[in-house]
């Protein structure tokens, strides 16, 4: 008896909590509104199924609980009913999967006009590299990392000389320009996570991973690490600032390039390689 009321209370309570509690996702600041839409579709479908199943159970408990003289029905199978339930479930699943896969297709297809930005993670700080005037990032390798080359940029690659290096500082990006975020780690797994952008991806030492997004709102957004990376995981924070184009250019002009930092990159780099 009470259990029937409890089951109803679970459904009603869950729906009320969902609708009236103040906890919901943070306002989006990227183009990935589609992800939010797919998530909302999923909430509707799964919420309806949850309510239907639990309320049906509540009904059964009220209606068919043991009383003197009650006899249960004897019905081992009902092929027609089972078939219909399977078909309906299949349709529900397809209704969630189809938009999910379409949006995933967009998520993994980087538009040609996207500019590359590299994020480099280390225990426990964020660094960044922008391609400089030639629009190309130079090669990099963890084996080249040293005190004066913290990101491991290959000094023999001419594309790397003008790369803008932002070490352990905030990243700025211009609004409304798609960004191809290349992710690299110099030690353990990390994950570049900005809740407002909705997108995230692990960074794996030894390979370059990526995602892309277009910032749609100016402001300061906190970067967190979302893949356990040791004892400092919880304090591995940083900021991304989305600027207007003019503000971005001002910031960019104040940054140092790899050749600024390394002095004469060719020479020191060759010594470095020779010693390997």
């Amino acid at each position: 008896m009470w259990i029937g009321l409890l089951l109803v209370a679970v459904v009603v309570g869950s729906i009320l909590f969902h609708m009236f509690s103040p906890w919901w996702w943070t306002p989006i600041a990227s183009n990935w509104g589609y992800i939010d839409t797919t998530l909302v579709i999923t909430f509707w479908i799964t919420g309806a199924v949850f309510a239907a199943v639990v309320l049906f159970m509540a009904y059964c408990v009220f209606r068919f609980r043991h009383k003197e003289g009650r006899v249960a029905a004897y019905e081992p199978e009902n092929k027609k009913l089972e078939l219909w339930l399977t078909i309906i479930t299949g349709i529900g699943v397809a209704a969630m999967l189809a938009p999910g896969l379409i949006v995933w297709g967009q998520f993994v297809t980087v538009p040609d006009e996207a500019t590359e930005v590299e994020v480099v993670a280390a225990q426990w700080q964020w660094s960044y590299r922008l391609p400089g005037e030639d629009g190309k990032l130079g090669q990099a390798d963890n084996r080249l990392i040293s005190g004066d080359n913290p990101l491991g940029i290959d000094p023999r690659d001419p594309n790397g000389a003008d790369d803008v290096v932002v070490e352990a500082d905030d990243l700025h990006l211009p609004i409304d320009k798609p960004v191809h975020v290349l992710l690299r780690s110099i030690d353990v797994l990390h994950d570049f996570y900005v809740p407002e952008f909705r997108a995230k991806m692990d960074m794996v030492p030894g390979s370059i991973t990526y995602f892309w997004f277009t910032p749609t709102r100016t402001g300061e957004f906190e970067v967190l690490c979302a893949e356990l990376c040791g004892v400092g995981h919880g304090i591995m924070r940083g900021f991304v600032l989305i600027d207007s184009e003019e503000d971005y250019q001002v910031w960019l002009s104040e940054q140092s390039t790899y050749s600024d930092l390394a002095g004469d990159p060719t020479e020191s780099g060759e010594t470095k390689l020779a010693s390997q």
Binding site: M1, I3, L6, V10, F17, W23, W25, T26, I35, T46, V49, F50, V54, C60, F64, R65, H66, V71, A72, Y74, E75, P76, E77, N78, L85, T86, T89, M96, G100, L101, W104, F107, V108, A122, W124, N142, I145, I186, D187, V188, L189, R198, A199, K200, M201, D202, V204, P205, G206, S207, F221, L224, C225, A226, E227, L228, V231, G232, H233, G234
Partner: protein, 592 residues
Amino acid sequence: MVDVPTPLPPDVPPAEVPEVELYHAKSYWTKYIFAQDAKVIAIQYSCTAIAIGLVALVLSWLMRLQLGFPDLFDFITPEAYYQFVTMHGMIMVVYLLTALFLGGFGNYLIPLMVGARDMVFPYVNMLSFWVYLLAVLVLVASFFVPGGPTGAGWTLYPPQAILSGTPGSAEGDLGIILMLVSLILFIIGFTMGGLNYVVTVLQGRARGMTLMRMPLTVWGIFTATVMALLAFPALLVASVMMLFDRLLGTSFFMPSLVEFGEQLQYGGGSPILFQHLFWFFGHPEVYIVALPAFGIVSDLISVHARKNIFGYRMMVWAIVGIGALSFIVWAHHMYVSGMHPYFGFFFATTTLIIAIPTAIKVYNWVLTLWRGDIHLTIPMLFALGFIVTFVNGGLTGLFLGNVVVDVPLSDTMFVVAHFHMVMGVAPIMVIMGAIYHWYPKMTGRMYNEAMGQFHFWVTFVGAYAIFFPMHYVGLVGVPRRYPELGDPAFVTQSVDGLNAFISLAAFAVGFAQIVFLFNIYWSLRNGRDAGGNPWRATTLEWQTADTPPGHGNFGDELPVVYRWAYDYSVPGAPEDFIAQNDPTPVSQAEPT
């Protein structure tokens, strides 16, 4: 409606081989300590699993103290917090849930339910428990070594798991080594038991016990064991390789990397390869825990609703189908791992397909309630609690399985809430229900009803109050494995109050488990005499000559099986159940 009369009497093949006399233990030591009786081994497994589970419970309290009331407890440093997280997760998944369902319920129920005198290899079965105990002791030892237990997270992802930035993995620390050694031991011990369960089900059944007459409990445990035998080897090789990376300096999972400014001697290994191996084990593991729960709960619902399980054959095929499918969905744990993005299309599709047989199981449970004669006993209450929490946790799996929806949610508290609901709370509901259900058979006594009611209500309401709101903490964007979030701008409405509430609910639920254990202990002496078949159930374990059953289970004569396990409320039968070994013909019988 199937009402085809079967030929009478139902066919039972003649015995092919004469029965062999069992060797009975003669001393206290061989009867209760180095025991070869599956029922004693089951109780040894269960007590060990519950004991180590209590450690995990205390660890979860410590975590909730930190999350609910940050800054209040100085001894919970980030190092300690990560150690709590890691040990809690590993203990719950492997050393409690797997061991209790397979080593505990498997050992107790398989021989009794299929009508066998014991497991087919009793000596190996004994070794299985002792190796498991050794694995647990090695795990516990890691709390007492320099550096403490590992804090690498239960997923043990390299390179972090064996590098010095992680608690228990610094130079000279033993935590990670003991963790890996303990896992290797566990897998060895499990394999010895698992082979036993599979061979007993295939070769040790009583006459007339066809596969399609087996109770779903046996089907669930059997399928889960086959899966475990196929899945655990992946974890075994991953553990051995990581041990080599740590101890011998090999580079199976270690690429070139720089640790705190220093070039390490590793190079060429693949961190993602470890993740594939881990989840090739890890995802089937979810169903290794879930399938026994599915099987057991089917039987609890059927017995206590006095109605045959709805769609038995569909239920069997759903168990087998889920078991098979669960081997091709593992990378849905890795959508944001940096693996090739096109994998996402494949694994999202397989993952959502697995929802269909799972949904069929749920429908059949609730359709078994429909037009039943529902006795709201404690096992039934826990079965209902299971359905609610399992449906809830299963549905949030559709968020996380649907690749692009997973992107914002992965590694947030939403994931923590999801897997606790679906493979923590739901299977534990079944474990509780099953313990109440079979306690009268194991002890001959009935549990205390009032304590059982208290236990159910606090556990169910409390667990839902913990994990339902936790989804929304994750939806806000709060990442998992953060001992302290602080006050970042993306948290538009502070989750501190909600976290404190969740912690209080967690303490209440933990307390209720102590009442449960007290009930188990108290009723051993003070419970009323339960009789041999208090639930008026059909399956063979309730038809034994003695309660609790003695060594050899069935007294002088092995049972002969004439019908399926679900003849409840059969029209025309004198009672509302017909035992599986009852030869009396009735007009209606199992679906054929």
